[in-house]
Amino acid sequence: MRPASLAELRDAVRDTRGTLLVKGAGTAQGWAGAPDPTDHVLETAGLTGLITYNPADMTVAVRAGTPLALVQQELAAAGQRVSLDPARAGATVGGLVATADSGPLRHAYGGPRDLLIGVTVVLADGTVARSGGHVIKNVAGYDLGKLLCGSFGTLGVLAEVVLRVHPLPPASRTVSIPCDAAEAVKHTGRVLEARLEPAALEWCDGELLARYEGVESSVELRAAATPGGTRLSTADAEAAWRRVAAVGDGDLVVRCGTRPSQLPAVAAHATSLTSSTAVGVHTLRVADVERLRAEFTQVTVLGNKPGVPAWGEPHAAVPLMRAVKQRFDPEGRLGPGRYRPWF
């Protein structure tokens, strides 16, 4: 099924029976547990384009099937961007919300949950629900958008997403500090204590990268003031950030959240790793997920690997996740197999 409007999407969900798999660009179909074969596949590729965009309000409403790259293109013309830089090329905005995916800019801007200000979602029974709105500051009603972050298509089908946007920085400069994981923790502390305010601070396989964004004179001064840092040319910086994104191309990749200072312990499990060092969010290639899970609980497997369970021991909030799933999709129509063995 490939609906082309909110009403068609609603009808597609309401007027069918059986299980449903939601599919955006298909760049993360195997994340969070391989989906079972379903009666229907609901593609969001027909739900594309900007709905409203008024640059002076610094918000944009888009249909969920719109590739983020397309949104960025439209926004760049007005000197703005969505401050989200996931590694997955071609991913849709809805897919990025459903997978709660983010990239190095999470250091300064957080992830989809921090940029999302409104959603329209179609529930498993065809109910169309909105939450949030078109203004950045808004506490009216429950924030269902947050709930859908990391829901992997198990709670509802995202139809429309409203995001806050930021100005495109006039200049950008990356510095590199070669160091091991333990030193990266210390360097991170120094950069933060020096109040240099990087937009991204990422350690990737033996190199701490600090990217500064802002007016040109300022980013150059901050680059020069970075303790132990070497200023990278624009081409070298692009190559370095491509290496960060490429960590996700591995055979068995996981994302893991820990206290930032636990980076060395996480890195000990990795054959390749990139980490937002001030935030404590790591993306790594591992040989043995179970060994990592024996030490850390907040682990998500990105991608299918036969024989590797997507999730470990249920953590304290899993019973609540099940209760929410029961209320939103009591018949288990949406994304069966995802979140196995928790669901």
Partner: protein, 481 residues
């Protein structure tokens, strides 16, 4: 089983000094800072720790008695309004800062700790807790989590939800859990994000882990006077359009300035029609370059004053943050409104509000977070002169105007009791029913702070709010059965 049995059980578990039953004492809990709504609770519990909170909630669940969590009672939407024949669970005794971790830049605190005390505890490491509601000296972090509180500096730094890593929660059945984790990556959906801002309707927080930020390298603040609120609003639009993200942009109109000047000597010009407070912070060179742009963009200002030093800046903010209370000097009674409009409709909103005030014969002072369109019209009236109903109607009409202009009923004060009946203006029945599914997942019995956020027949009459066709219905896509 009866309330008497519940009282006995709570007294046995919390001790004689762990409950309040005396009618005179109970009255001190009858309202929060929205004093127009008052309900005396049957009982107040004063637990000392998380285990006692859980025991109190479990007892309420056993007897199916509704309960309401209460922090400092500074809420402006009646979120902590007690339920008659219900229990108030006060978190005032849970006020320890358990840990400040300068390496991983976080603090673990109990819910009764005040917002400002977190920053005080973190100050020796050069760290602070960013969200800064005007009531930050007294409001508690537990209340901030419940309301997803904002503040003047949220424009650049975000709201409470962007600064909380994890919360320990007593669920409405008395069991406990933790939402969130050591880092923003959660294995599972974002239950933490969904929980923050639910106004105490999904559970009671007994522990909070907050992110701490390094204080910025440089802070520059200016106060710019304008001949009209429109000129000031245009300056805000110009600043945003120039790609500047200030730490804060606040606006005060003449009436608000008069009120502040009567209370704090912050040096605001008593004759100006409107003043903007604009603050930039960050690395020195970045701030200096942007500050030059900023002063240029305030070209229409009649006067620009730049804060001389930290003391002067503190004075300016003290004045701004005292504005709500200061209005008491101008008027015996007032309502604080809290709507949001898209930034590009600020001017239109202010004009309409002024017209509505004139029509109602009621003065409205404006002091607000201009950068994110979060208005705080202060509706001034006299109870004695019998203006209450007219003022309340005006205040409600202003909030609903914000929705009409594409905004929201509330930017930071919450829906609570105050605006529950206006919710159908902003959300369809299906929207609200979907939110209720989340509530039911946490609180199937509906015991946790009932009667808040959602319109109820009891509060709003049989038809909650005026009928409004759902957009799909208006488009002929769906029919009302």
């Amino acid at each position: 089983m009866s309330l008497t049995d519940l009282r006995d059980q709570l007294a046995a578990r919390l001790g004689r000094d762990g409950i309040v039953t005396d009618p005179a004492h109970l009255r001190t809990y009858e309202c929060d800072a929205l004093t127009g709504y008052r309900v005396v609770p049957a009982l107040v519990a004063l637990p000392r720790n998380a285990a006692e909170v859980a025991a109190a909630v479990a007892a309420c669940a056993r007897f199916k008695v509704p309960f309401v969590a209460r922090g400092a009672g500074t809420g402006l939407s009646g979120g902590a309004l007690p339920v008659a024949d219900g229990v108030v669970i006060s978190l005032q005794r849970l006020r320890r800062v358990l840990e400040v971790d300068p390496v991983d830049r976080r603090a673990t605190v109990e819910p009764g700790v005040t917002n400002l005390d977190i920053s005080r505890a973190a100050a020796k490491y050069g760290l602070y807790y960013s969200p800064d509601p005007s009531s930050q000296q007294v409001c508690t972090i537990g209340g901030n989590v419940a309301e997803n509180s904002g503040g003047a500096h949220c424009l650049k730094y975000g709201f409470t939800v962007n600064h909380i890593l994890a919360v320990d929660v007593v669920l409405p059945d008395g069991t406990t859990t933790r939402l969130g984790a050591d880092a923003p990556h959660q294995a599972g959906f974002d239950l933490l994000g969904a929980f923050v801002g639910t106004e105490g309707t999904l559970g009671i927080v007994t522990g909070v882990v907050v992110r701490l930020l390094h204080t910025p390298a440089t802070v520059r603040t200016l106060v710019a006077n304008f001949d009209s609120t429109k000129d000031a609003g245009d300056a805000v639009t110009a600043v945003i359009a120039a790609g500047i993200v200030p730490a804060a942009i606040e606006m005060m109109d003449n009436l608000a300035i008069q009120a502040v000047n009567a209370t704090v000597d912050a040096g605001f010009d008593p004759d100006t029609a409107a003043a903007l407070i604009v603050e930039l912070d960050g690395p020195a060179d970045e701030v200096e370059a942007r500050f030059a742009d900023l002063t240029r963009l305030c070209a229409k200002a009649t006067e620009v004053t730049i804060a001389r030093d930290a003391e002067h800046r503190a004075k300016i903010w003290q004045g701004r943050k005292a504005a709500f209370a200061a209005v008491g000097r101008l008027s015996p009674n007032y309502f604080v409104q809290d709507g949001v409009v898209p930034r590009t409709r600020l001017g239109e909103a202010l004009t309409r509000i002024a017209e509505m005030g004139e029509q109602a014969g009621i003065r409205v002072a404006n002091v607000f977070h201009a950068g994110d369109g979060n208005l705080h019209p202060l509706v001034l009236y006299s109870e004695e002169r019998g203006e209450h109903e007219r003022a309340e109607a005006l205040s409600t009409a202003i909030a609903e105007l914000c929705v009409e202009l594409g905004g929201s009923l509330s930017g930071e004060h919450g829906i609570g009791t105050d605006k529950a009946c206006s919710m159908p203006r902003m959300f369809s029945e299906d929207d609200l029913a979907t939110m209720r599914r989340l509530r039911a997942a946490f609180d199937p019995e509906g015991l946790c702070n009932p009667g808040k956020v959602f319109p109820t027949p009891r509060l709003c009459g049989e038809r909650p709010g005026p009928y409004r066709p759902h957009p799909l219905e208006a488009a002929g896509v769906i029919e009302r059965l």
